[in-house]
Symmetry: D2
Subunit: 143 residues, 4 copies
């Protein structure tokens, strides 16, 4: 499964190079992840209330082009792997504009998250949640 | 009492105008507040572990000049008022540089914080903490 | 004139108190401001390309209730004053939820911005831009 | 060559999991990078004024343990590679505390930056700058 999110680059996110500061892409990936989980029929906020937290253990980002203030960025998120305590997501970020059907690729990213409990200890994803995630697993963008 | 903190402006904090984005000044004020509380002999982290949270209820900022990437900013923080559930801080932010004894004033600010419990309900500051804060009360910068 | 914007609170914007960190409200006000200017028929990005920058000179915020991760926040923005070099905006921020027609007020804010040129010097707002802004002036929320 | 930087985790950087939000580590790496370049005898701010910008093209992060509000984090930065248009840095982030000589490893990271001109086009690093960087090249942390 994949989900699509759109954000508009905020002035706060620009830097003095005139582009969106690179760390913000991780925040946008998190927006994509939140939307994908919502599309699965739950919310990450609710997962946390039930005591399941997903902490980022690994992140990889490749920046292809710059997003600028006021650009609309489309984040396509895919859930590409689930294991007992881990979930992997991949992201494809593109600038959405009026110039054509094939928006410029801004960045590609992947993150691996580990399931932890309220004390921060690694813990198995509850079975029914894991099954729901497993049904949504999709090949990644490069696959 | 007053305390002094110094931060160096991060690239992440710059915006496309080439200056530090205005919302960061509130973050720097919080750095000043944390340092002032530490100077009083406790830490805000410890206050929270004891169940006393200080939530910002009111903030006022005046921007006089721009901080830029890599500038060192000195934050002078004063505790200017304590009531049963409220604490007021004032801040004077200046650029520290090599050019002289009187650094340029960047901004002045004040924040009022309300004491809340873990459920977010307003609650009295514990007496011994309130006394410690009360002893540190100082006239504000304009007084 | 007033404009409406909606943002969803990001995990990145939460803090360890479990609520949206207070400095983010200034970022959300900026989102509201950007949208109001767009509704006027121009964009702030375009204003900057023409050499007119609006720098925040003064900000006031009152926090009434807490926004939380994944909440949808509606920002109503009004342009309440225009002078030769200054523009004032007011903001009303409310939580949007399913529980009723009158969303909880989260915060109210106002900011005054000064028109500056590329070198950071105060400069008059160009006449045609000032007229367009002047036609949009509206009484503030408390008026 | 390597440089050491220290930052104290800000409340603004915490999230509702009670730990420093993962995207902030990229900001701390940038603090480390700025300090390493300063130690080389120039400043990145000055490099930009001369028209050489370093844009992040690739970032990898592994998170080992969580930093928390008010923790002091030590960032050790190494310049591990220089090519005509690219520079690679590695980072080792540890929590500094009173409990012993071997601080807990929080994260390890690497970033590759591309030299661009004011228009955002890839451009060779000026020879004298490249030589200075080349003399500082050091094996990475895993080497």
């Amino acid at each position: 499964m994949e989900s699509q999110s759109e954000i508009r680059v905020r002035y706060a996110e620009s830097d003095q190079m005139g582009v969106a500061y690179h760390a913000n892409y991780l925040v946008w990936c998190e927006v994509g992840r939140t939307d994908l989980i919502r599309k699965l029929g739950m919310t990450y906020a609710e997962m946390e209330r039930r005591g399941v937290m997903l902490a980022v253990a690994d992140a990889k980002l490749r920046y292809h082009a710059s997003a600028r203030y006021d650009d609309v960025v489309r984040i396509v998120t895919r859930l590409t792997g689930v294991r007992s305590r881990m979930v992997t997501f991949e992201y494809d970020l593109r600038r959405v504009d009026d110039r054509g059907p094939d928006p410029a690729r801004l960045a590609s990213a992947s993150t691996t998250l580990v399931s932890i409990d309220r004390e921060g200890r690694p813990t198995a994803i509850p079975p029914e949640m894991r099954e729901m995630l497993a049904r949504a697993v999709t090949p990644g963008f490069d696959a």
